[in-house]
Amino acid sequence: MRARVHVTLKQGVLDPQGKAIGNALKSLGFSGIGEVRQGKFIELEVAESDPARARQKLGEMCEKLLANTVIEDYRIDLDH
């Protein structure tokens, strides 16, 4: 099963990189840019056919390594 994990900064955590990206877009002439937040996207294969078990396993991976839950949230999407 293929899984996609999105790791994003929690609300309220400052994101100077996102801000710099927003400023770069503005300087390129793109208008109407609001707040920009950047994060990570991780795609992985898991040898698991049961979505609930896959989700549980991926949740543990996020808690232990893929995200730092002091500052980051994660979202898990599964391809069925």
């Binding site: 955590v13 400052l14 100077p16 232990k64 390594l65 893929l66 730092n68 002091v70 500052i71």
Partner: protein, 229 residues
């Protein structure tokens, strides 16, 4: 005092730490490659600076989950002193030995220069040779040194005197202008609750004798040698 320096692929301050420990404590540290989980019993474990595992995923995240760190965690829980400098500090937070996280510098730039630090809560084993409130000069060299944690944890580490060093100006004033990286409350180094684990972004091992333009890092190692003799 017997010590060990943990070496990861990408560590680059391990030799400086080795020299500082050997010269000041009089006993050469054991250099422990990250795969050697079975290293000798020591009084101090130093986790040096560098770019362990190329800073993949997050600074310190890979090293924190390496086999040797499971052993370091075990020994830290048993009371062995653990010193993490720069990448070592990042590794100790990622490993859960210290609270908080070191985020990208607010300026987004790698900063390499001397800074002033105010010594807070001076105590053994790491900082008993400094005076409370003393200003010292120590170099920093990092891109991810912006200390952050949630409000409740911050109140706890402040309340329990876990802050060991704060960025300040040459006169010892803790100001926003003296904060090089955006760290909360100008925090440059913290201890765990028990006081046997210390992480700091500045490099005391780089200023241990006048030939290196200063020796403000030296009292840390002298204090360790005295406390852990």
């Amino acid at each position: 005092m017997k010590s060990a320096v943990i070496v990861f692929p990408g560590s680059n301050c391990d030799r400086d730490m080795q020299v500082a420990l050997a010269r000041i404590t009089g006993v050469a540290p054991v250099m422990v490659w990250h795969r050697d989980v079975d290293f000798p019993k020591v009084d101090l474990i130093a986790v040096p600076g560098g770019f362990s595992y190329g800073d993949y995923l997050r600074s310190g995240a890979m090293a924190a989950n390496s086999p040797v760190m499971a052993e370091v965690k075990k020994r830290a829980a048993a009371g062995v002193a653990v010193l993490g400098v720069c990448n070592g500090f990042q590794i100790l937070t990622e490993a859960g030995l210290l609270p908080g996280v070191l985020m990208r510098n607010a300026s987004l730039r790698f900063i390499c220069r001397d800074v002033y630090l105010r010594v807070e809560n001076a105590r053994a084993p790491f900082s008993a040779r400094y005076k409370d409130g003393q200003t010292i000069r120590i170099p920093i060299a990092h891109a991810d040194g912006n200390f952050f944690t949630d409000g409740e944890t911050l109140r706890r580490i402040e309340g329990e005197g876990q802050v060991a060093f704060r960025y300040c100006d040459a006169d010892g004033a803790v100001t926003a202008a003296a904060n090089p990286n955006g760290s909360l409350n100008n925090i440059a180094g913290i201890r765990n609750r028990a006081g046997n684990v210390l992480g700091m972004m500045p490099h005391p091992e780089r200023l241990i004798e006048p030939l290196l333009t200063g020796s403000d890092g030296r009292p840390m190692f002298e204090g360790l040698a005295e406390a852990l003799a």
